[in-house]
Point group: D2
Chain length 360, copies 4
């Protein structure tokens, strides 16, 4: 574990943050990652009525391999509602309740960085992958004039896909993308996938996932004009499978480009890819967003998911496709880069770009 680069934009004192949906699977990842965060400090934990009034240790069934941070263990959990102290709010709420509450918090002046799907396609919500479309935060800046805003983290599979596609889209243009995913069980939260369903098995379906990948990737790769955001003009076809892996979504991708590119061109585009998180040296940013690995049988979830603390996308097996132009395999850590870690990076970028104002 290498030391994190010292960012010039580091705020002092730390910015207080709330976590909504703190007891679930993604909420636990927020807690893990924010417990020692150099910029942010957890000051409020909120979850369902059932958890309210208990300490976090009592209210959660901790399922992370790292121990529950003692300082957080003793914090009280409140019922999620519109009265939230910190201006910056991370949401890992269940989609069944997130919609109106997140809107309400934005109206009340909060900056809500959410991992939930409800507002991802809203016209005034930036669907943010900081390396890819940092300029979409302009949507958020406009909205913040009225007080609060929502910034959304895309679906975990989409994040991995658009990070690998963005350098190609910038350099060569993308026409068509066929993607088949092999997704980890942690993506379904807890209790999530029953062991009787997935052991010695594959489930070739994840509710809503294919639609999300096909639409969200076009928004993230879209362009921002005066009239708002225009979805990218490319076609995505997705097939999504659940497999017996704890963490790490693998994706088999074929892509056709608008301008010809050799394998070397593509490798160079990936190797050289950097974004604002690298420019600002944000605490959660990977040094290199894309790691290409040369092993014949790579990338693999268990071997590569923790690359750069789970914040980099790992790509391999680039080769010609007899139908589209190129084929490759990518891996994204679904609960780090693809969920809590990605959302925290969004918040860090918002802070670095001054969206939270002087006081944070």
């Amino acid at each position: 574990m290498t030391p994190q680069p010292q960012s010039p934009t580091r705020p002092s004192p730390k910015i207080p943050v709330a976590i909504l949906g703190a007891t679930g699977s993604v909420g636990q990842r927020f807690v893990s990652l924010l417990a020692d965060h150099p910029w942010f400090e957890i000051t409020a934990l909120m979850a369902s009525e059932r958890s309210a009034g208990r300490t976090y240790a009592e209210a959660t069934r901790w399922l992370q391999a790292s121990p529950l941070p003692p300082a957080v263990a003793a914090m009280p959990v409140a019922a999620a509602g519109p009265d939230v102290e910190p201006r910056l709010v991370f949401s890992a709420l269940d989609a069944s309740v997130a919609g109106p509450l997140e809107s309400d918090l934005a109206r009340r002046g909060h900056l809500v960085v959410t991992n939930t799907r409800n507002h991802r396609l809203d016209a005034d919500v930036a669907l943010l992958v900081p390396e890819v479309n940092a300029h979409h935060l302009e949507l958020t800046r406009r909205r913040l004039c009225d007080g609060g805003a929502i910034v959304a983290n895309p679906n975990c599979s989409t994040i991995g896909l658009v990070m690998a596609l963005a350098p190609l889209a910038q350099a060569f243009g993308i026409d068509q993308v066929n993607v088949v995913t092999l997704q980890a069980i942690s993506g379904a939260g807890y209790p999530g996938v029953a062991s009787l369903e997935i052991m010695d098995n594959v489930i070739p379906f994840i509710s809503g996932e294919e639609e999300k990948m096909e639409s969200e990737s076009r928004k993230v790769l879209g362009s921002l004009g005066d009239d708002g955001l225009i979805f990218a003009d490319l076609t995505v076809s997705a097939q999504c499978n659940r497999v017996s892996v704890v963490d790490g979504h693998l994706e088999c991708v074929s892509v056709s480009l608008r301008r010809p590119a050799s394998a070397a061109d593509i490798r160079a585009a990936w190797d050289d890819f950097r974004g604002e998180p690298q420019h600002f040296e944000l605490p959660s940013a990977p040094r290199r967003p894309i790691h290409y690995v040369d092993g014949d049988t790579w990338p693999q979830p268990r071997l590569h998911r923790d690359t750069e603390r789970g914040m980099a996308v790992v790509v391999g097996r680039l080769r010609p496709c007899p139908i589209l132009d190129h084929k490759f395999v990518l891996l994204v850590h679904n609960t780090l880069r693809g969920a809590a870690g990605g959302a925290i990076l969004c918040a860090e970028l918002a802070v670095a770009k001054g969206l939270l104002g002087e006081s944070g």
Copy 2:
């Protein structure tokens, strides 16, 4: 387990058969399936030098869930070589030794039905999926004039794919096929995949598998003329993954057709599909080669791999593809239909069509 249809072509007495490579993973499946076969009787078991002179029970590490058939357990194992008694020989030899020995046996007058890859693309070898290209046995008939011949079973993933494609190829013509596989560990034999490599993991690579799927499927779907076999004019792009499943290869397929077809047209083509194995009511033939299942999350390896004793291909999730025309998911039991069971069906078809002559 339903009773097997009584075939009118049932030979009497039983036809003696040899199994080459009898102690390996596919060899064990041959033993299981042939132990009570209505037409065939195992009279010779052959394996590597190391096993020679031992009983089958001593020579093999039995890894099947069904018990080792007692009659076979006590049979002696001989070293695989050119002196084989039965005319009909099943080969599950390791590819490193199969090539010359199978050729030699064919020259000596044997009909070698092989599951090994070595001769699959030979010009005078039928690459046979009995429901799909029974007419390719004409290649074998021509060759048998000189004595023996080799009939090859395609690669396990290819068998599942071409069975699902054949009805579409016949009815609508096929232009392009994109397939991503999620393959079971039993496909790699024993010891095969190390548990340290596959547990909590996916391996996005299987040596030679993508090439096999891309070429073999074109041969199986090819047409036979006076000058021999012409590969089908379609493009296949394959990506192959190993996943934590014991048995059953799942394949995510997109296909573009030469003539438009609705989902209902395709469903009808699959439902109505029958071939010579069904016509002859061969002992190992499934009543219906293709089973379409309607569940949202189906087919699944653990739930559906044993459909019709593992000899049917199970298809589901037919839906439009934004890039090619249609997407669907298929499942094939890789060691039954995809290996030993498929090879036995080939032999049954050869017998039913009289290729072994009066005496079997």
Copy 3:
């Protein structure tokens, strides 16, 4: 799959039966096993309010590898309650609702054969493992004078244990038993164990299981006097673990005997063990209740759980224990012999012994 022995006691016409809790995991096994049962015929399916009014196919999430029997698929599901038509009732109800309803049904004259834990230790309930304590059905006969009765199937781990212990208890007497279990996920039903909890993991705890094994085994091995049942005078210490196995509980046992016995004595006791199910040739009875396997690394869940259609207990690795007298490993199929199959065998025995009367 060998043909089932023709029992002399075979009733004609078939005896109608109801299944309570038919949609759960054990309920599904009851449906599978009773769909083609030679004596019994499913005429009523009952489950929770939520399922009432739907067909069985609609109400259940079928998770068995064998297909849902078509005749049952179309049957209506009723809400579980005291109005049940058939006199013979199989119960796979959730323990939270089983207690009063099963008592009520017994009062109304039904013979309730239950897999649920609620009444197992009741004084007038036979806790039945047919090979082991068929004579305990005398408890049921006494109770049936007043109309109905409950017969209970022990806990799945207990069934495997007492089957292996009974021959030793009869021949040598048993003093102490130390048992550590490695139990399959199917024992927890559906959804049961979350995949996030068990993948790449062991859970060294199963709620209430150790207590059940320690008490139930003493009741099953107990003796019946005029004043009722006296628990066997032996001490059991159990530690229970959940492991990543679909079906099949493995148990590591050490035992001290009251009279010395050699390994050969013990092997003979197991090999010769037969009970009333074998005497009556009951349809679900294994030909041999105990199969001793000689392989160094046996028994194993995936290789041996289906021995005699999952109704036999498989034992291996008998060797001296430095602390107690002997050590061995046993395997029991937890949802077949350990649940639905065991309960059906109990009902078959009750019929064979005339407890249901002339009319069944």
Copy 4:
């Protein structure tokens, strides 16, 4: 990951070390742990003939989740033999070749710290668990007068067991220990356990493991007199199972004590347990050797194996045993504390106690 305590005994410059058997599974762990070690510096890598002359990156199939340290990747691998430069040698050789070579190296003046089983029970070899029997290094000191010596790491399961037993042995005396293990696949190295053998399965046998646990634990807990080492007077009965877990051996233990102890007494003995590694603040020492966890369902391999960088033993579920006195569950990380990490701690202790002399 907390900072490692600064030891007062820290040598400067670093001590050069060789790794024998560097390309295997345990060898890779040595490489990982020594790449940034504050005291030791890898200067020689040795493996089989096959690897000789290649770089480490070429010669090894890296299967660790952390990346291969770049500095090591480029180092050449030599054939393991008696000519070794560094005086301190770590051995992860295969047991089939380790015996004579390790003896030869000791004769030539090397201090060989080995993870291999060959010399564990030799009279002049300390079988060392640094927290438990640091005083056994006196055996090594005597032997070093003549030049070199071998220090052996016990078997991985034994290490976990004796660490949990040692505080009880010291405080109350131990009479009998019954232990059933559930061991991870990484314990068998690579390729080790075939996935076809362990998926959806348990293997209730590990060759030689039960004998090792029963004898090695008595040596580690033994006492050292003028005439050498006297094995502890206690009886251990072990049953060993392989389960589907990547890392982390779980052990279900029952123990009878020589002097009565309450649960609170035992908890206190574990909580207060410290040894020389803690006294010397050795770089690889856990702050607390034993962590008792209170969760009903704890310890679990996936949740707790990394406690204190995998160097602590985690214990839970202490409760009365109806046969022996107490039962509990323990967890040890088999490739960290139980193999490479444990061996490195042995070497650190030897250095801290001055066994390598002034120059290291």
